[in-house]
Symmetry: C2
Subunit: 149 residues, 2 copies
């Protein structure tokens, strides 16, 4: 697998954008985590690590990272800060969330993916992405009346 920092640099060059220390640091920090992360937390982490990257820079870099397919949106709900996940080099997967404790697990279901392509094709479109989230109540939370989505 390619070095994430170098890969991102290539993406930047292909857009005639500069390879800067701050952008490198952001990629380096992200490539080490498997967990979903929120931008504000990332800003704090970077600051703690002594990185020069500021809030504004982090916010500006996120769209570039999405564009380069190194990260993607993992959680996005009204009124709460979105969470992202680093996906470069990892197999594709979707998520299953417990609506009560917010725990999540990853799953892959090839059958669903194939049907999605069928749907897009049926309408004459080219499928370029999807978001699938399953909301469940996990056994531990089963008892109380769950807030359902």
């Amino acid at each position: 697998m390619r070095d994430p920092v170098e890969l991102f640099r290539e993406h930047l060059r292909s857009k005639n954008m500069r390879c800067t220390q701050e952008r490198d640091e952001i990629v380096r920090a992200l490539s080490k985590t498997k967990k979903h992360f929120r931008i504000e937390d990332l800003v704090t982490d970077l600051k703690a690590k002594g990185s020069a990257a500021s809030r504004a820079t982090v916010y500006r870099t996120i769209p570039l990272l999405i564009e380069s397919r190194m990260i993607r949106v993992a959680e996005s709900n009204p009124g709460e800060e979105s969470a992202y996940e680093y996906i470069y080099g990892r197999g594709h997967h979707d998520h299953l969330y417990c609506t009560r404790c917010n725990a999540h697990i990853e799953f892959e279901e090839r059958g669903i993916e194939l049907l999605q392509m069928d749907v897009a094709r049926h309408y004459g479109y080219k499928l370029v992405g999807h978001r699938l989230e399953l909301y469940v109540v996990c056994p531990q939370c089963r008892e109380t009346g769950a807030r359902e989505i």
Copy 2:
């Protein structure tokens, strides 16, 4: 089909909450639209119609409407205001969005729904909801290099 206003009133009563003119007006306004709507627009519309419902009240009513299953989140992406849709009395459907022009169409694919239940069951969970969004490039937008999600 039941009168939406009356249905929502029942939901309120079941929670020992008051049936107010403002809440009625909000439901009445929503039940007339098929389009996805944003809260700030709804506030503006209500104001224009001479409704007494204020911003705070609208924001407070949205969670109640979701709870009663009369509306649901239709679009939620980082950095943009979420859109909702009125779903009472309408068949279940998911959405297909063009990533360039933001046009969307509704679809239903029973096969996907069934597989979703399989996935949840496989992990021993009870499925209480899901969100499925397919991102496509529509023929009109096909030409230019699409921003993919």
